[in-house]
């Protein structure tokens, strides 16, 4: 009975939603809005949810406004993959890993197929995450409660090292150098423990540190736009629109990847303070090391694309678990959702009404279905972008990117930051340094800094705490192993073994 109760509650909510005509209107409008927000560079899922929260406030019943908020959340995490795949400019930080294999596919003229696979992957990822929210929230919470500061610090460091190792086209050390520059940039501003100003040179703007969105836009969009304008044509081969809906066989053949990536996405999403962006990278990294065609990752592998894109959407369900069960948001968009719930007098946490969880699950299932249908329909439209003249199109992208960077609220200085990071990224690209680890360094550096120093504060400076906790020890071994595997003699003996 205990097993069936949530399932019955879910079907009850689902039928109730399907019987209301308003549901369809909210669903279609919000998923579309989400996709557009996700696809526009710099506009994030968090922003989409925040704007809708302001729009609905407590003016309509929460049962209805939740449809819009969750629809926009799902749509935005997915929508970011369009510019990632077609232009190599991630629409949101969550879809940065998607670009790694999505864009090479576009270059090979397979953009349509890539979008089709991504859409299906996002659909399965969202569904999987949602099912975990329904059935395993207790178990996942128990695991998440064992992840304290030491584990989070090592996880953040692993994310930076991993992206450095994965993204380098020639020497891994170049990826790590880029990652360390990003980590260094994350140190600017007020430190998270004592509120001391660091590297601010008495300039008030630097007190709040470097924001992720301008760095992301500068690092990915600016070099891409310069390259496009220099070349005078789109970097892609003439797009073959062809068949967009993937065949059942293509998906079934990769069901292992889908399941693994979904599980990683849910797990990472369930950790408070770590969101969809990290989920995409971790899953991509794991995929590269365990997948049969791992060597082809980064050159247009469908498995690579699936790894990133399934995980970032699965993280949505994961992020909802601590939000609904503990009242602690699992990702930045979930924090905006928390606000929406609170305005409507709903206090999420252990005392939450279970029917609300069933309602959220039902909405997420409907939103993922709406996303699948709209994604496949929109793909044909989006892919035509590649047939536009770049001299017309790229300036529009630049303008949108600028608006996106401005939207985070740091004023005109954020635009200068975007341009400087963009020029540095362009030069680094010319020298074959990967730029993604720099961005990951900025995203995860703050988390690493805060949790590492808090760990030492708690242990009075004793480093042994990283060995004595089982979770921390495992992550430490992974970190050290990753570094050692790149040292000449170790590398050679590893090669001989395989």
């Amino acid at each position: 009975m205990d097993v069936l109760a949530p399932l019955l509650g879910f079907f009850d909510s689902l039928l109730m939603l399907l019987s209301e005509p308003e549901t369809y209107l909210y669903l279609v409008a919000s998923v579309f809005l989400g996709i557009v927000f996700g696809a526009l560079p710099g506009l994030t899922a968090t922003l989409a949810v925040t704007i809708l929260t302001g729009f609905f406030g407590n003016k309509v019943p929460i049962e209805q406004s939740l449809i819009a908020l969750l629809g926009a959340y799902v749509g935005a995490i997915y929508g970011g993959s369009f510019p990632s795949i077609l232009l190599n400019i991630p629409g949101t930080a969550a879809s940065a890993a998607t670009a790694m294999d999505g864009h090479p596919l576009t270059k090979q003229g397979l953009g349509g197929r890539a979008i089709g696979i991504t859409t299906t992957a996002s659909f399965f990822g969202t569904l999987f995450g949602t099912l975990c929210l329904l059935s395993f929230s207790g178990l996942l919470l128990a695991i998440a409660q064992n992840i304290a500061s030491p584990e989070k610090a090592l996880l953040a460091l692993f994310g930076i090292l991993l992206s450095g190792a994965l993204m380098s086209s020639d020497l891994v050390i170049k990826g790590w150098i880029a990652g360390m520059i990003g980590l260094g940039m994350a140190m600017v501003g007020l430190d998270p423990i004592l509120s001391e100003a660091r590297f601010t040179f008495d300039w008030a703007y630097l007190l709040s540190g470097f924001q992720v969105v301008p760095v992301l836009m500068g690092a990915f969009a600016v070099p891409q736009i310069i390259e496009g304008l220099v070349a005078g044509r789109m970097i892609a081969a003439a797009p073959k629109i062809g068949r967009i809906t993937p065949s059942a066989g293509e998906v079934v053949a990769r069901s292992g990847t889908v399941m693994r990536s979904s599980a990683i996405g849910v797990g990472v999403g369930a950790l408070p303070g770590v969101g969809e962006d990290v989920a995409g990278w971790v899953s991509y990294g794991v995929g590269k090391s365990v997948s049969k065609d791992g060597a082809r990752f980064g050159k247009g592998s469908l498995s690579g694309l699936l790894s990133a894109e399934t995980a970032n959407n699965a993280a949505i369900g994961g992020a909802m678990i601590p939000l609904l069960v503990l009242g602690i948001p699992g990702s930045p968009p979930a924090a905006a959702l928390l606000g929406a719930l609170k305005i409507n007098n709903i206090v999420p946490g252990p005392t939450i009404d279970p029917s609300l969880i069933h309602h959220v699950v039902a909405i997420l299932v409907l939103a993922s279905a709406a996303m699948l249908l709209m994604g496949l329909a929109l793909a044909r439209l989006f892919i035509r972008i590649l047939t536009l003249s770049p001299t017309l199109f790229l300036p529009v992208v630049m303008a949108l990117t600028t608006i996106g960077s401005f939207s985070v609220g740091g004023g005109v200085n954020d635009l200068f930051l975007m341009i400087i990071v963009g020029l540095v990224a362009f030069v680094m690209g010319k020298m074959a340094y990967p730029i993604a680890p720099l961005v990951i360094g900025v995203i995860l550096g703050g988390l690493f800094d805060e949790t590492f120093r808090r760990t030492l504060l708690l242990s009075d400076g004793e480093l042994s705490v990283f060995f004595s906790r089982p979770g921390a020890l495992l992550l430490l071994v992974l970190n050290v192993g990753l570094v050692f595997s790149q040292i000449g003699p170790v590398k050679n003996s590893l090669k001989r073994l395989t």
Binding site: I328, I343, P350
Partner: protein, 333 residues
């Protein structure tokens, strides 16, 4: 002569226009920029009260978030730089009074004309599996091993940190203070066992207390509180010295430029008072464990001036303030 005429015309236009706009306030939509992030107490309260005030105003109020800086200085600088015509409000809380001494900006809080919706009282809690069942047991343990029991609260200079400091002073113990970026992460740390006690507000803790994840030990206010069937005793009974330092209560609300036109202030005050009297707000406060205030204008300014002086000098004594409060002519408490 021509010039004189022109000047007179221009003056008439300028003053006439400002007169008309002053009479018509509000003739266009109002924006409230909240200096803290979405989902937090200040954000939620502003969105809730603005939705109520809208019902008593002929225009809409849109709520945005302008976060970042030091103690919310980005949002305050943004609003301060907007025209002081009453069309841009700032959503803020007691923690913003430290922005000046922490170097975020160079204005005293008196540049604002505040409206206080309310706040939630602070309390001290321990994880559900903690060995400490009462505040006395915890204090005894801390006396036996000073500075070793990790205590979580949001970052240096927050209301919860100041409450923790007051508890230490009033009961003559020291904990090991571990700062977090907000109340939610500090409560999460208590659940993982990273810290052994946490100080946040009743509003923030109540779902975790009701769900049996946190065990409340004592209110840091003079009165007991009731949460469902449980009564949370006040810490003042066991430690009467606390009365010298406490209570330090949240003051969450919004503000308009102190230099805004008088009739704009009057219109806002009227809408605010009507909203505060509505059953929706009363019910919201009850469900979420907030005490409503309703203070505005001079009364609210006096409350914020006291908070500013307490916060600024406490931070100066802790050596975490960047700017001497005396330089900003903030009086000692």
């Amino acid at each position: 002569m021509k010039l004189m005429k022109f000047a007179a015309l221009a003056a008439a236009l300028v003053f006439g226009a400002s007169e008309a706009s002053a009479q018509d306030y509000p003739f266009r939509d109002i924006t409230t920029a909240v200096v803290w992030g979405a989902g937090g107490g200040t954000d939620t309260i502003n969105r809730m009260i603005m939705a109520e005030m809208e019902k008593h105003l002929p225009v809409s109020v849109s709520v945005i978030n302008q976060t970042g800086g030091v103690a919310g200085s980005n949002g305050m600088v943004y609003v301060f730089n907007q025209p002081d015509d009453g069309y841009t409000l700032v959503g803020l809380s007691e923690s913003n009074v430290t922005a000046a001494v922490q170097g975020g900006w160079d204005q005293k809080f008196s540049v604002w004309y505040p409206f206080i919706v309310g706040g939630s009282p602070d309390l001290i809690s321990v994880p559900a599996d903690s060995p400490y069942n009462t505040l006395e047991e915890l204090i005894e343990a801390a006396k036996a091993a000073p500075g070793t029991i990790p205590a979580g609260a949001s970052g240096s200079g927050s209301i919860h940190h100041l409450n923790l400091l007051a508890l230490e002073n009033g009961s003559e113990v020291t904990f090991k203070f571990i700062p977090y970026k907000g109340s939610a992460p500090s409560q999460e740390a208590a659940l993982t066992g990273e810290v052994q006690l946490v100080v946040t507000s009743l509003a923030e803790q109540q779902p975790l207390i009701a769900g049996g994840k946190l065990r409340p030990l004592a209110m840091l206010t003079p009165d007991d509180a009731t949460l469902g069937d449980t009564t949370i005793p006040t810490a003042f009974t066991a430690y009467p010295d606390l009365a010298n330092y406490l209570p330090l209560k949240q003051a969450i609300g919004f503000a308009v430029h102190a230099s805004a036109p008088a009739n704009a202030k009057a219109v806002l005050t009227e809408a605010f008072e009507k909203a505060m009297a509505s059953p929706t707000v009363a019910e919201w406060a009850k469900t979420n464990f907030y005490d409503l205030s309703g203070a505005s204008g001079d009364e609210a300014s006096a409350i914020f001036a006291t908070l500013e002086s307490t916060f600024a000098w406490t931070l100066w004594d802790l050596e975490t303030a960047k700017v001497d409060p005396a330089e900003l002519s903030i009086a000692k408490p």
